[in-house]
């Protein structure tokens, strides 16, 4: 697959050479020559001298979109390629491979003589980072996040601060040593560098952790930390940048720094929440324009990010807050297709972004001007590692006093080892002003080295280590309805116990928040009936829909979409209803007689009696069709008499005295029928017509008759049918049949004790 890459890269280079080179990709002003297409400028005189250009080459005016598309295409093809080489993708994480590809491409460009583009901060922060963060924020698992939010905040805030000061301070100490030629690096610069390098990067963490499928707790801890430390990083960065420029720092500045941190973090969250509520509110009205629903989600989130960036608030936190706030309401409002669209678009964009980021990292490594200083770089790497380990261990010791599920040593190791640095650090370093920070190149070199080290060494070895240490992996089981029921039950139970204890713990507050949400917020933000839908029912419907979709996708119900195919079905769990028979007991002899009739007359019937009980009798359709089932009137009349003698066990009330034709009775709503075989005269012969699978619902006979009978259905079918005689439609039918001379009788679903039709009770007492 690398050959493909090479050809692509070659093509790219070919096209680059005529164009401008050596600048950041979006920075080029791709305004080409717009002066009219292809030579027809209105200089009529000149134009007529040259031959009309049939084919011309004008690259300039498509250069920028062309280059961008080519890069994205390259990135996507790389991704494709890696997965076609099976062994490679299981050993080396994708991020490493992509960086290597970036290195190669950058090298190629260098070899050709051009300057490769560097990952510009503008491009990175405004275009490449938001999709990844939005994807993470929208699909953030809220429950584990909120359960561990204390731990996550501790790691994010205190841990990052510790890292920054530890690395910065010790590096300053190293720089002060003689012999390193680093005396120019002052304390502020070192601290600034420390704050840049100390932040755990969400992109890198996502890229590596998604492949190792670690258990939910560790995943959310490391990932949550990488998201929430953005606020700390932003504040520290700006703080130290100011201080380094200003030269000195006072206590007031430190205090302001703390205030600034709170403002940045909370402000970011607030901005995100506002936009989230707006998005939810907008989605309430989109029921008529379903097509643009996903667009609202993306636009509002991006606006939240940009708005936060305007005020130098934490854009990442704004994005996460926006996604997390809007999700429950938007999902209740939008259609299923929009939901799928949002999911796939987010995954697609974040995937492409991630790929591009890593490739660009590789290219930038080749492109940048480096200043390699052995001491600085080596010390940075070592100090980063040491700081991380110390930080995690120390913090866990303190946190474990407050946690119920303590973090074990294995957990701590994975958390420490998972602190990967990535492109955010690089971009922040790139943003540094060269005037104030002459050692910027050295910083960049060190940053890139740390990034490479963490991504390559830690990224590659974490998977075997996870297996070696037997860290708990993510459980693959889907959430079942039982778990959902009991989770809710537990929530209410614990809230109740807290109330009994008189202790306002976090269950109490969570319950209050839920009730507030249900009472006020949901009514505003969710359209229609769904605003009142309790969570359990929503979950149940979602599950049903998923199962239905699975069923359809698996080819129409052939395969049972469950892990363990079982033959348990609804009827197995229904409790036996022993005494609810509304129908009279048949005496034994009568029952025997009925059985005899059925047995002797059900010819050629594949009796698929799944279960025989008194209430239902199921059999297969009679193969010869029901075209044979014409009875003469005489037989029908005799039949009618016989049936009435049988006391209507098999059917239907006796025909009314004024109708000579057979009584028609509709016994059940499904068109299962027996037809009478024209054989013996004395015994009413019954032939099985259609079979329908036994439904677990017992048919309530009275209701059956109260239901308007379905004459149309009856008329379509040619089998024998019996309906209540007094219904007018039947009268007409009977007359018609009388004229045709065709009498048909059909017993739909022989129920041994059918009740009379409601209209017919004036006739015979049906029940003896």
């Amino acid at each position: 697959m690398t050959s493909r890459a090479m050809t692509l890269a070659g093509l790219f280079l070919l096209l680059l050479t005529p164009g401008t080179g050596g600048s950041q990709v979006p920075g080029t002003d791709g305004a080409g020559d717009h002066g009219g297409p292809h030579g027809l400028d209105g200089h009529g005189a000149n134009a007529t001298n040259k031959a009309f250009p049939v084919l011309s080459f004008d690259y300039k005016h498509v250069q920028m979109p062309f280059e961008i598309s080519l890069w994205v295409l390259l990135a996507s093809l790389m991704k494709l390629g890696f997965h076609l080489i099976p062994r490679l993708s299981s050993i080396v994480p994708e991020s490493c491979l992509l960086i290597v590809v970036g290195l190669l491409v950058g090298g190629l460009i260098r070899v050709v003589g051009e300057d490769p583009p560097i990952l510009g901060s503008q491009l990175f922060f405004l275009c490449l980072l938001p999709p990844i963060i939005l994807d993470a924020g929208y699909f953030l698992p809220i429950r584990p996040f909120t359960e561990n939010v204390g731990t996550i905040l501790m790691f994010a805030v205190v841990g990052t601060l510790w890292n920054a000061f530890f690395v910065g301070g010790l590096l300053y100490g190293v720089c002060q040593l003689e012999g390193t030629h680093l005396g120019r690096v002052d304390l502020m610069a070192c601290l600034l560098f420390g704050s840049i390098i100390s932040a755990v990067d969400p992109v890198a963490v996502l890229a590596v952790f998604e492949e190792i499928h670690i258990n939910e707790l560790l995943h959310i801890l490391v990932f949550g930390e990488s998201l929430l430390n953005d606020a700390v990083t932003v504040v520290l960065y700006h703080l130290f940048e100011e201080f380094a420029a200003a030269g000195g720092v006072t206590i007031k500045d430190v205090f302001l720094g703390i205030v600034c941190f709170l403002v940045v973090a909370l402000g970011g969250i607030l901005v995100g929440a506002i936009y989230g509520v707006l998005a939810a509110f907008t989605s309430r009205f989109t029921s008529h324009t379903r097509v643009i629903e996903p667009l609202f989600v993306f636009l509002y989130s991006y606006m939240a990010y940009l708005s936060a960036e305007v005020f130098h608030l934490s854009g990442i936190m704004a994005l996460i807050a926006c996604g997390a706030v809007m999700r429950p309401y938007v999902e209740a409002n939008i259609s299923h297709k929009s939901h799928t669209t949002i999911k796939y678009f987010l995954k697609m964009w974040s995937s492409v972004s991630e790929t591009l980021i890593f490739i660009f990292l590789g290219v930038s490594t080749v492109a940048g001007q480096h200043h390699w200083n052995w001491t600085f770089v080596i010390c940075t790497v070592i100090l980063c590692l040491v700081a991380r380990v110390l930080g995690v261990v120390g913090l866990t010791f303190m946190i474990n006093k407050f946690r119920i599920v303590k973090l074990t040593t294995k957990d701590q190791f994975i958390i420490a080892y998972g602190g990967l640095r990535g492109a955010i650090a690089f971009s922040l370093g790139y943003l540094l002003d060269k005037v104030h920070f002459p050692m910027r190149d050295m910083f960049l070199t060190a940053i890139i080295t740390v990034i490479f080290f963490t991504v390559f060494v830690q990224g590659m070895t974490i998977r075997p280590l996870v297996d070696l240490l037997a860290v708990k992996k993510k459980q693959e089981t889907k959430r079942s309805i039982n778990e959902e029921i009991h989770t809710q039950f537990l929530d209410h139970l614990l809230t109740g116990i807290e109330d009994i204890c008189g202790h306002y713990g976090h269950h109490h507050w969570k319950d209050k928040l839920n009730r507030f949400n249900k009472k006020y917020v949901k009514k505003c933000l969710i359209a229609g009936e769904r605003s009142k839908e309790p969570q359990l029912i929503a979950f149940y419907h979602k599950m049903e829909m998923k199962q239905a979709i699975e069923l359809v996708e698996s080819g129409g119900g052939v395969k049972i979409p469950s892990a363990m195919p079982s033959t348990v079905s609804m009827q197995n769990i229904q409790p036996k209803k022993p005494t609810e028979r509304a129908l009279p007991q048949l005496s034994k002899s009568r029952e025997e007689e009925i059985r005899k009739i059925l047995r002797t007359n059900l010819q050629k019937t594949r009796q698929r009696l799944r279960s025989y009980n008194r209430h239902t009798l199921v059999a297969d359709p009679y193969e010869d069709g029901w075209n044979d089932m014409f009875l003469k009137r005489r037989r029908v009349m005799e039949l009618g008499k016989k049936i009435s003698e049988l006391n209507n066990y098999l059917t239907v009330p006796a025909p009314a005295p004024d109708s000579p034709t057979m009584a028609r009775a509709r016994l059940a709503s499904d068109p299962q029928a027996w037809s009478i075989k024209p054989k013996s005269d004395s015994i009413p012969t019954i032939q099985v017509d259609l079979a329908s699978p036994q439904s677990p619902d017992s048919v309530n006979m009275v209701d059956e008759f109260n239901k308007p009978s379905k004459p149309t259905e009856a008329e379509e079918e040619e089998g024998l049918m019996m309906k209540a005689p007094s219904s007018s439609a039947d009268q007409k039918e009977r007359k018609r049949d009388k004229e045709d001379g065709v009498e048909q009788q059909r017993l739909a679903r022989c129920l041994s004790d059918p009740g009379p039709s409601a209209e017919d009770d004036e006739d015979e007492p049906f029940l003896p």
Binding site: I481, N482, G502, L536, M543, M564, V568, N572, R610
Partner: protein, 216 residues
């Protein structure tokens, strides 16, 4: 009982602490609450529970209150329901909500888990026949959805059926068309709730109980 500071009371507390696993201070706090709920009487009745205002909006309120009077939860090998309970029984029921301590062996954790799940099981199995039947389960779901009006009641049946089907499928596997799945036994119950870490989720933080908030 006499004043708190007299020795017999402390001795009782220590005995209770050993029996239930709470610390003496936690027992003292809980005893205060008990006396507040029972208006300084020795026994607690159902009405005292019903008088707690915060509990009024809890959908499974009645089941929680019943659990306190269910003799199966008193660890005395008896069953039936009590009419009123004393402090020791109150404490025993509360002890089901203690968090696991740090130095528990795997076996102890398993026992704790079984005990907590047994408590939950007893809450569902109201007729004490050892299984949760479809009717009982339906009652549970209906109670959970009791605040949702008509929609809740109709779907409760569907949800219960789906849940029961799931239990039957995962626990028993293959059943002929005539077999009837009688109800969820305790072992099946353990199995279906394997995914939820009960020992760490079913707990109250007794550590920071602030007695000044006990105004209701």
């Amino acid at each position: 009982m006499g004043a708190f500071h007299s020795n017999p009371a402390e001795q009782t507390y220590r005995d209770l602490a050993e029996k239930t696993g709470f610390s003496v201070e936690q027992i003292w706090i809980l005893h205060n609450r008990f006396k507040q709920l029972s208006h300084d009487e020795e026994m607690l009745r159902r009405d005292d529970f019903k008088a707690i205002p915060d509990l009024a909006c809890n959908p499974i309120r009645s089941q929680i209150i019943e659990a306190f009077f269910d003799q199966r939860n008193f660890q005395t090998n008896s069953d039936g329901t009590a009419h009123e309970i004393g402090f020791e029984e109150f404490l025993t029921v509360m002890s089901y909500f203690r968090p696991p301590s740090l130095n528990m062996t795997q076996e102890e954790k398993e026992d704790l888990r079984r005990a907590k799940l047994r408590f939950l099981f007893n809450m569902h199995d109201t007729d004490n026949d050892g299984t949760i039947t479809l009717e009982e389960y339906r009652h549970v779901v209906e109670e959970l959805l009791s605040r949702s009006g008509a929609i809740g009641q109709e779907t409760a049946k569907g949800i219960t059926d789906a849940a029961m089907l799931e239990v039957a499928s995962t626990s028993v596997g293959h059943m002929g068309p005539d077999d009837v799945y009688e109800g969820i036994t305790f072992e099946h119950f353990l199995k279906i709730l394997k995914g939820i870490e009960i020992e760490s989720r079913m707990h109250i933080r007794f550590l920071n109980m602030d007695t000044t908030v006990l105004c209701k």
